[in-house]
């Protein structure tokens, strides 16, 4: 029972991470395409300024709870995915320092350098996270000694790449909507057009992914066994359609929440389909790590459950407050302040 609760919490924390940091990744990827002047670029940077760091802590927490609740999965997942994971970490480092360093020196080449870094540091982790999760959905080739039988290219298989591109598409729409909320004038119009255009791309990718998953994975097995679970992907589809509806009505906050719900439920769709597997082996399903054969002791799971039940709502409360505090557009006052990116 505890293992099942933890499995769902594990999926939920990863899903929250992708929902929150997703728009940061989208913004960084969009930067070279929507922002033309230095001022417009600074609007993009400052639109995520007060949030990106708090969002990234969800990744630390997601890694932490994987370690705490399912140490064997943590150990095998992270060591078999060694190269992609370190690539993600390096590019995340690059992203963080781009945000922090860009506006520290008023030189054009300095700024252009960090703009390129922000793009790399946003696009690469978005793509690689998608590739990693899609590969987990279809199984990872690791043997009975937990040794990975392959290399980075093994993971860049067609289904993995579809997952990666889907993640990028989800985050691009999410980021474009955030920019539409936070900006004015020409930048706002471009953000809106980007959201509308990329939404079609997202729809196509989502359809491909759902069909491809039927053939490449066993994700639908749990859904066919319990058809009531189809409510979850149904919510994803409704949220995705609502996103477009709200874009048309220029209700960008609502559209942003709808695209957030799309990401959240899309990740949960995969996680529920995976259950009880956390890290399936494609060499021999019997080797797969599950919520039951890789979990911590009952005592640890109980203590950690207490910690999470108390702390996570508190975290969500003060993060919501921070979002509310900085809900306004990135304006001249913010850009003129020394305390901005």
């Amino acid at each position: 029972m505890l293992e099942t609760i933890w499995f769902l919490l594990w999926g939920l924390i990863w899903a929250i991470y992708f929902t929150l940091d997703g728009f940061d990744f989208g913004l960084g990827t969009l930067l070279p395409f929507v922002a033309r002047t230095d001022k417009e670029k600074r609007v993009v940077y400052n639109s995520m300024g007060p949030f990106w760091d708090g969002n990234e802590v969800w990744l630390i927490t997601a890694g932490g709870v994987t370690f705490a609740a399912f140490p064997t999965t943590y150990a095998v997942m992270f060591s078999t995915l060694y190269t992609p994971l370190l690539l993600i970490l390096f590019t995340l480092i690059i992203r963080a320092v781009s945000l922090e360093f860009r506006n520290k020196i008023a030189s054009q080449s300095w700024k252009s350098f960090w703009d390129a870094c922000l793009f790399i540091g946003s696009f690469c982790p978005a793509l690689l996270f998608g590739v990693a999760f899609a590969n987990i959905f279809q199984g990872i080739p690791f043997d009975s000694n937990f040794i990975f039988q392959g290399n980075l290219l093994t993971l860049l298989n067609p289904y993995g790449l579809v997952g990666g591109i889907l993640f990028v598409a989800l985050f691009l729409v999410h980021g474009a909507l955030w920019l539409a909320i936070k900006s004015d004038g020409a930048l706002h119009r471009r953000a809106k057009a980007a959201a509308a255009g990329l939404w079609i791309f997202l729809l196509v990718m989502a359809v491909i992914f759902l069909i491809y998953s039927w053939f490449a994975t066993t994700l639908y097995k749990n859904y066919l066994a319990n058809p009531v679970l189809f409510v979850l992907p149904l919510i994803t589809v409704v949220a995705l359609l609502l996103t477009r509806f709200f874009i048309a009505g220029e209700s960008f906050w609502k559209a942003w929440f709808a695209s957030g719900a799309t990401i959240l439920t899309a990740v949960l769709f995969g996680v529920v389909g995976l259950f009880p597997n956390l890290f399936p082996s494609s060499i021999d399903p019997a080797l797969s790590l599950t919520a039951f054969n890789s979990s911590s002791s009952q005592l640890t799971l109980t203590i950690m459950l207490g910690v999470v039940i108390v702390m996570v709502p508190i975290v969500i409360a003060y993060q919501t407050w921070a979002y509310y505090l900085f809900r306004g557009k990135v304006d001249e006052v913010m850009l003129a302040s020394k305390e901005s990116y």
Binding site: F78, T300, I303, A322
Partner: protein, 434 residues
């Protein structure tokens, strides 16, 4: 290529680099919070300028600390998967608690503080930086508790082929965690204090913003004086815990080969590891080492030869690191005491100011050496007397680790240079003109 050796090298390099940034966060957050509190209390705009100037340096430092911390958390899985599997039940849960209880708060409120000057009342704004200061020091507790468990595992039993938790309270409240914690955060406070004093000295030497930097210097001086003295006490306490719980480490730190009673402390020692003796032992204070480690002049102290060769930590590195760290600890007391007597005539003490400017790196060095003593002194164990380091690594190719190690060295070197350059530039430019 040996993946274990490379993984050790990678972990050492990435942790030491991470720890160039973390302790300044611990100390400087409190100093900045004190400055802003004075601003709120007195309404004197100079304190607001101080808050912003030092806060800016804090922020550049903070971001590098954050990004280099994430790679550490993930490296337990990538490079030390056998360790993670064996002790994750305990170690993993403490790391997860750190993120949920402390690090979320630190990151969220720091952003609110930095961007929120116009959005919050002065009191609320000052409260934010206090929350950052407190949560960063709470965060440190969990990390040190996790490390203390590796030094002195408690509250567990070996079950199902791994270490499983059986007493959570014992793990998070063991005395070794508490002494290690205070010892560590005090070192961070000293780093923060010396950082502020050193940069202030730079400007005072140039008669630049004299009132601003005199105030900054004095605040940091009082802070550093208290914690430099406190650190001697904490270091002593922690050293006694170390000799009780990890006698091999104490023997290595003191280069003591033979088990003896009433052991003297030699001021000058040069260890000869190969021949299990010391080349030189000079200026010996009789029985002092027994007193230092056990609080009893005649106590027996175990020598390295009490353990088989394969159970001993490397001696020379641990010994040298320990000696230099302790020496620096006393130097910090000396420098801050001198500062106390010169506090009202700083401007007319150029020599002292110059010394303080060049002393900025010293507390950093002391802190890194302290970690070398702690971690290298625990070898050959990754979890003391439970799991050996050479049984803990991931089953991965050495070439993979070699590539990532090279990438870490390149990225971190660049990152270090840029961060140093930006901080030095901001520090030299001084505060914004009024």
């Amino acid at each position: 290529m040996d993946p274990i050796f490379l993984s050790r090298l990678q972990f050492a390099a990435t942790t030491l680099f991470h720890f160039l940034f973390v302790p300044l966060t611990l100390g400087l957050a409190i100093i900045v919070a004190m400055m802003e509190t004075r601003y709120v209390r007195t309404g004197n705009p100079e304190y607001k300028r101080m808050t912003k100037f030092w806060g800016h340096l804090f922020l550049i430092n903070f971001v590098v600390g954050v990004v280099t911390g994430i790679t550490l958390e993930f490296q337990f899985g990538t490079n030390w998967s056998r360790y993670s599997k064996y002790v994750g039940d305990i170690f993993g849960s403490i790391l997860a608690i750190e993120a949920t209880v402390a690090f979320f708060m630190e990151s969220t409120f720091l952003a609110v503080w930095y961007f929120g000057w116009n959005k919050l009342s002065p009191k609320m704004h000052a409260a934010c930086i206090w929350i950052v200061a407190i949560s960063s020091n709470v965060s440190a507790y969990w990390i040190i508790a996790a490390n203390a468990w590796m030094q002195n595992p408690v509250g567990y039993e070996i079950r199902n082929g791994r270490a499983e938790l059986n007493d959570f309270i014992a793990v998070v409240t063991q005395p070794y965690a508490i002494t290690n914690y205070l010892h560590t955060i005090f070192s961070g406070f000293i780093i923060g204090g010396f950082f502020v004093m050193g940069i202030s000295a730079y400007h005072l030497l140039r008669k630049n913003e004299v009132s601003f930097f005199t105030k900054s210097f004095r605040m940091a001086l009082v802070f550093s004086l208290i914690f430099s003295v406190g650190e001697i006490y904490m270091g002593d306490l922690n050293g006694k815990e170390m000799s009780r719980l990890q006698p091999e480490k104490t023997a290595a730190a003191e280069a003591l080969w033979e088990t003896q009673k009433g052991v003297g402390f030699s001021m000058l020692v040069i260890p000869d590891e190969r021949n299990e003796r010391n080349y030189v032992e000079m200026f010996t204070i009789p029985k002092f080492l027994s007193f230092l480690t056990k609080g009893d002049w005649d106590a027996e102290v175990k020598g390295l030869k009490s353990w088989p060769l394969e159970d001993r930590p490397p001696v020379t590195l641990v010994f040298a690191s320990f000696r230099i760290m302790v020496g620096l600890g006393f130097l910090f007391v000396l420098l801050t005491v001198i500062g106390w007597f010169k506090r009202n005539k700083l401007e007319s003490s150029p020599l002292y100011l110059r010394i303080m400017l060049y002393s900025i790196p010293l507390p950093y060095i002391a802190a890194l050496l302290g970690w070398i003593v702690t971690e290298v002194g625990r070898q050959p164990w990754i979890v003391y007397h439970v799991l050996r380091t050479n049984q803990a690594a991931s089953p991965i190719e050495g070439s993979q680790v070699a590539v990532s190690l090279a990438a870490f060295i390149i990225v971190y070197t660049l990152l270090g240079f840029v961060a140093f350059f930006l901080m030095a530039r901001h520090a030299k430019n001084g505060p914004e003109p009024v």
